[in-house]
Structures are given as C-alpha cells and as structure tokens.
Symmetry: C2
Subunit: 473 residues, 2 copies
C-alpha cells in the first residue's frame, strides 16, 4: 500500500537536505504538452546531486511514498505525472544539469540527468564533435527523460536510438542504492546490462542521474533536400536507392504528408516547403558526408535517378545553411501545428519498413469507414516510425469524435500488430499505453517485466502505474 507524501515524511527530509531542495509545486509539474491530463503533486523535490537523490529515494522506499521522476516535462504519454497516486513526490532533476566533461579524443561527454539536450549538443559541437540525438523538443527535453524513454528523433537511421548513444549511466535504484556505471567504454561485457534495462524503463526501476554519452565525428559536409514522391511506396524505393548510393551518409529520411503543410497554414505559421504546389507526399532528406564528397551534388544525382525511375517529380536541394534550417523548421513545427489543431488521437507507431505503404493504405481506408477524420501522417520513414495522428474534419471539434475514438485507435493498433509493428515506437508507454502493452505485448515478456519490477522495487514506489499497471492490493 503506497502512502502519501506527508508532512512527517517531508520534515524528515528537511532535517537532512538543504532548503533549496524543496520547490514550490508550480502548475507546470502537473501539466503535460498536449493538455490531456493533469497530475497531483505531494511535493516537488529538486536534489543537487546523486547523494541527495539517494536520500530521497531511500526515505520514500521506507515510507512507501510514490516517486515520479521529472525531467523536461516534454513526454507525450503521461509518464511524468499521475492523478491516481497518494500525493507523490515529484523528483525534479532540474538542478542536476552540469555537463561534467567533454573529451573529443575519447569521443565522450559526461553530463547530469537534468542537462537540456540542446546544451549537450552545443557542448559537443564546441569540442568539434556531434551528439546526434535530435528531436523537436530538444530545447527543453533533458537527458534523464530522454534516457528514461529511450528517445528516438530524426537521426536514428544513422546513429541509433538514445540507448545506442549511451556508454554508461549512474542511477539511484528503488532501494536508494547508487549504481555507479559511469564507464566510458566501448566494450564491457561484465554481467547483465543494467544500463539497457534502466534506459527505456521510464523511471519505474530507478532514476538515472548521470550518463556518459558517445560522441561522433561531425560530418565534413551536410546537405538537405525535399523531394515530392509519387507515394509512400515510392518514398521507400527512393530510400533504398539512396542507401545503395550513399550508405550511412543518410542521416535522416522523413516522410511528410500534405496535411502537415495545411495545418501549418491553418494555425498561423507562414512556414512552407519550396514547392509550387504542395505535394500529397514528400520526403526530407539529410546527408552527412565525409571529406571529398559533395552533398548537394549527391542529392541532385539522387533526384535525377529518382525522377528517371518515376519515384520523385519535384524537389529542391537547399543551397545554404539558412535554407537547410528552413526546410527543417517546417518539419519540426508540424507537432506544434498539430497541437493547435487538436488531435482526436495520436499514434507513435513503427512498422517493418516494407510494410509502411500497406499500413498507410489500409489504415486510411478503415478509418474512413469510421468517421471523417483528417489524417496527418508524418515521421521518420527511415526507421519505419510514423506519427499517425487523427484530427477532426474542418469545422468540427475533437469532442465530436468521442464516440468514434475508441474504434479508431483499435483499428490503428490492430493493423500495426497484424503487420508486425509496434504501438509505441519512440514515445514510450507512460500511463497512456499501459493497456495497449497488456493487449499487444508478448505475454512472456510482460511476465518477465513484472518479475523484474517486483524484484527491484518490491514497495512499488518508482513511478507507479507507468509502463506496468500497479498490482492490486
């Protein structure tokens, strides 16, 4: 049985932690970006270092007080807030934001969990290196949350997910013990990989407090293009063609549907892609090439070959850094436009690459039979990761679809399942998809997850109700 964060509990902590640890329970700690839910706050605690995190977790374990780790608050699946717990501790990493060291020879960067992604990227760049994790919320998302959710983003095609960019972590475990795994090794086979277990566990098995990240060489030259493609299938064929020519030189390959541009226009953004007529489907391609190669030339050749093969019919290669940034700004602002339009339902799904076109066709058809949704389908095609979001028809409100929403979600996820995909590609499970995990997750895997949770967090204090349903009392 979990207990609320009582005055007695907090007074015990006040006796051993500095006053700066105790923060005002501002509204932002109880809100999430899409405004679907609000959370409850027992207290907001912001420790200054790992030892203080350990003090808090140990006390919480003894008193059975629930603890919700809080990073940048940008999560989209409700992993960072709950209204179903007795007055939880919000454990904010905001004061632990130091970038401890950058080593360009060893190609590593060590930082604390509260460091904002954009600052980590900048520190790597200052040292002449690249930290390739990049996503729309990089100005506020912090390492702890990015690792906790194994965030994806636009460069996964080339560099992998967050977990592939982490060499070592430090974490406080549910009993308050400190796991010191801050090694900066490329190879280390010494027992079970606790790092990969905690990455993606969404704070349910402990709190990641710091990490050693892998840096990469910066590509000598980068290039960006947008190309109008005949269909999602053509986009896929273009990707294969590009990989044949350029191998790992392709760092991003994004699919964008016309709805993205429509929504931008509709919600007051003047951003647009450089097409005379907005195509139904287009791709945004980013290259990073070694010395001696010319990205603009390579993109032009790719376009010519794609045009010949009737895969692409219009396009533009960015001629300056400003143009490259402008292309990307369109892509990165689509989520904000979506938010302003107001989705009925949002789906962060992934599919085996070759199944993407079939999914788009069949899902569109099946949803059309349910209601007059507008569908904005965009995302990281190179990873088979689509953000497949349903919106009200023009002039209607999302509330109008209350009766159809359940059936629509089911259609999407059932088809994902049938085609061997995932109902959560990069956003995680949080509290939003606990039931989906129970429905679509492998039963043996779920049993293992519950066994691990029970073994490492027998009191069930760490982010209770995220990822796994809380056990019945």
């Amino acid at each position: 049985m979990l207990a609320p964060c009582s005055d007695e509990f907090l007074n015990g902590l006040r006796a051993v932690l500095p006053p700066a640890t105790f923060r005002a329970p501002e509204a932002r700690y109880a809100e999430e970006p899409r405004g679907f839910w609000t959370g409850e706050i027992g207290a907001v605690l912001a420790p200054a270092n790992t030892a203080e995190v350990a003090v808090i977790i140990k006390a919480a374990a003894q008193a059975r007080v629930p603890v919700i780790p809080y990073g940048g608050g940008t999560g989209l699946v409700g992993g960072q807030l709950s209204d179903a717990l007795p007055a939880p501790v919000i454990l904010s990493l905001e004061r632990m934001n130091a970038i401890r060291r950058v080593d360009p020879v060893g190609n590593i960067l060590e930082a604390e969990a509260g460091a904002i992604l954009a600052n980590v990227q900048a520190a790597a760049e200052e040292a002449g290196r690249l930290f390739p994790l990049s996503l729309a919320s990089e100005g506020s998302a912090v390492l702890g949350g990015l690792l906790g959710t194994n965030a994806g983003g636009v460069n996964v095609l080339r560099y992998g997910n967050t977990r592939n960019l982490v060499l070592g972590i430090e974490a406080v475990l549910p009993d308050g013990s400190i796991y010191n795994g801050l090694k900066s090794l490329r190879k280390d086979n010494t027992g079970y990989d606790l790092r990969h277990l905690l990455i993606g566990a969404e704070g349910t098995l402990g709190v990641i407090t710091a990490a050693v990240l892998a840096l990469h060489p910066r590509p000598a030259a980068q290039g960006t293009a947008v190309m109008a493609v005949a269909s999602p299938r053509a986009a896929l064929d273009l990707l294969a063609m590009a990989q044949e020519r350029l191998g790992s030189g392709i760092s991003a390959f994004e699919l964008i549907h016309r709805s993205g541009s429509d929504f931008l226009a509709q919600t007051g953004f003047s951003l647009r892609l450089p097409f005379d007529e907005t195509p139904e489907w287009c791709v945004l391609i980013e290259l990073g090439l070694p010395e001696g190669l010319d990205p603009e030339g390579a993109l032009e050749e790719l376009f010519a070959e794609g045009f010949e093969a009737e895969l692409v019919y219009d396009g533009a290669v960015a001629q300056s850094l400003a143009q490259r940034q402008a292309f990307w700004e369109v892509r990165e602002t689509i989520p904000e436009a979506n938010k302003r339009v107001g989705a009925v339902s949002s789906h962060d799904i992934s599919l085996p690459l070759t199944q993407v076109p079939e999914f788009i066709n069949r899902a569109g058809q099946a949803l059309g039979e349910i209601a007059d949704f507008r569908i904005n389908c965009f995302g990281h095609l190179g990873d088979g990761n689509l953000h497949y979001n349903l919106f009200p028809a023009e002039g209607r409100q999302r509330e109008d679809y209350a009766a159809q929403k359940g059936a629509a979600v089911r259609v999407v996820y059932d088809l994902v399942e049938e085609l061997g995909g995932s109902f959560s590609a990069e956003h995680g499970v949080g509290r939003l998809k606990v039931e989906d995990l129970e429905r679509y997750g492998d039963p043996a895997k779920l049993a293992v997850m519950r066994a691990i949770k029970g073994a490492l967090d027998p009191q069930g204090i760490m982010n209770p109700g995220a990822v796994l349903r809380m056990p019945e009392e």
Copy 2:
C-alpha cells in the same frame, strides 16, 4: 538443490521428443579452445525447433536439472562447460541453424541461434548487404553464443557490438515459456528491453533461439593498410587524425605488437606483415567508404599526414583484395599462434581510449617486476579493447609461472580498475571471471543481477555458475 540429468528425466523427454534430439556425448562438448578445463556431460540434447527447446527447459525446471546452452564451443571463458554441476544437460543449438529470411529492402536477416556466423555473413553478402560482425572464430561461432556473450570483434568501432546489430530475439525463458520478440523494428519502446537483458546474459536467464539481425549497406569501396607507429600513444593520435578525416569510414583500427609476428614465426606460420623490419608497434586500418571516394588514396594521405606528424614511420597500403586478406590473415592468426605458444594468462580488457598508453606502460613495468613474461598485447584499439596476454620467456613453460600467475593477474586487473576499464571487454564472464566480477563489479549492479536471476530462474537451472556464483544451498 540441483538434480542430475537422470535416466528417468531423459526417459520422460524421450517420450515426447524425436530420437534425433538425443546426441552422443562426444568429447568436443566437454572441451574448450584453450584446453584449460573440461566439462561434465549428463546428456547432449539438440532440439530441432523452439518448441522442443521449450519442452526441454520446462522439464529441466520441474526436475531442477541444470542446462548449459551450447553453440559453437568457441567461448574463451568457460561459459559453455562445467565440471561442478550434477550431470547437466548440454543443450546444443546445432540443428537450429536455418537462415529464415534475408530482406535487403528492410535491411534485415532472420536466423536461428545455431547458424554459423560465416554463413550469416555470406547470406547477407549474397543479398548485397553487410552483416558486420566479424571475429577470428567466425567459421564456427554461432549466433546463439555470439548473442549470449554480446561478442565484439573487429568492426565494433563502426558498427557496435553484437547487441547493436540485433533488432529482435526469440528465447526460451527459465520456466520454459517462449518470448517471441522477433520484431524487425528500428524503434520499439514498449517496456523493459528484454532483448538487451538476454543478450550478454550468457545463457543464465534463458536460451536465445533465433534473432532478427540488422544488415548494413556494403561500403562501395574498401581499403586496408598497415602502419608502423612510434608508440601506442602515436597509434591513438593517428586514430584521432583518421577520424577527423574519414569519420565513420574507419571500420577497424587494430593494434599489433611485435610479439604477434614473433609468435607466428615461432609456431610455424609463414605469415608476415609487409615491413622490412618488424616494428615494435603497428596498426591495421580498414576503411569502408561510399561511392566517389578512393580508400587507397585516403590511406596514403593519412600515412603522409601521420608521417609529417611523426606518428608513423613505415607502412603499406594493400593494392588488391588478396593483399587486404593477407594483412588480415596475420591479425586473425595471432590467437592461434598464442595458443600454440601457450599463455600463462590471457586478459580481454578494455580501457577509456585515452588511458590505453598509460595502461600499456604501467602494466609492462609492474609485470616485469613479477617475472620474465613475454607480453603479447594486441587488439581493437579503436574500441579501447586490448588482448593483453602473458607468455613464458623463451625456453620456459607456462607451468614455471604457477607461483607468479595470481599476482600478475591481480596487477593487470587492478590497473584496469584504477584507469576506469573493464576486466572483460568482449569475451564475457563465463566461469573464468566470476570472482573478478565479484571483486570489481559495482555492488549495486551485482545486487540487481542476483535479484533478476532469482526472479527469472528461481530453480537456478540456466547455466548455473556462469556469470554469477551459485547461491549457497
């Protein structure tokens, strides 16, 4: 309390499994490559499919019979055999060796755990793709063992360890349940990453039965060079210089000490590197570049720049595929020469890159004070991974060093620990390094490992005594 694999137990299995499952207990199942240990065999079972594996594990769990998964038998740390168990089942994956599918568009290959690495590489190549895992024993090592130990090899610098090449796995868990995680997704954040937990667990948490592997584009052009370097520090500076110029185009960067060449000559191999005078230290560099770049030219430019900076003083760029293979054959045959010479002690260690030169200097000095060892230090410098092996002086036998061996091992591992390294880089813990893990492992991590082992394998039947000491009865 574990029970031996009795006639009663085997008769129970004979009633439900085809006769071909039951193999003769040939000596090879009880031997390991270095000839240090022999194992005991209760029975050798070679199931034909995952369902049969599940039948065996389930029966073993009920009867508390120990099960040791057996792949290619190439492991170097005794993970595949034990003489300290009551008559164990040797569960050989040798009949489950199908390559189920190769999909060059989706860049995936699905195969069973008994598939030999060289066959997997060949199947990928036939489809115009690369499966980059590559190591000396690739002609007999199989996927199950490679995944179970998270094998490393020569291409980790560019492509990562085995775990980075695996999209999904299927496994039989210690209770006989089947985890079906054979997804071919690049992004899938649906709960704890069971895949990464089982990869590297050395068969102690279940048996991996099949995997979906990530394929890569084949580099358009490859090149290979050897360069004599002034010192390990110079080798490291050359690596940084190469990465600055060629980024991820460097797929291997191997350090070789003169002892390697000496041992080859001494043990009857006529292989040699193309130097007039064998240098004390040299590096073997492999490039894989996209279309439009010339690897031989790039290697020559790198040599020229390195020469200018006084990092390298001799070298050769391979001018043909045959020459490239000849360079690599030298590198790949050093382990066999080592075996013939007969090591006193072998160490598969890793270090933060920048600490490698200090380790080599200090370890050599400290060991010289203990005995007149010949040291053969070689390995994957790009990953900070050294094979640091101690041999008898010429004319002496390894038995002569019995009194000094313990102290020598301690010197090596204590220094590795001091410099933030790992006592097991790519070979795993097996039974050889259980005590080292207890000594050097993070206590909180060890506690988590024991908790997970207890939760998933309460009977303790899966590869008992590997990685973790068996609990006291």
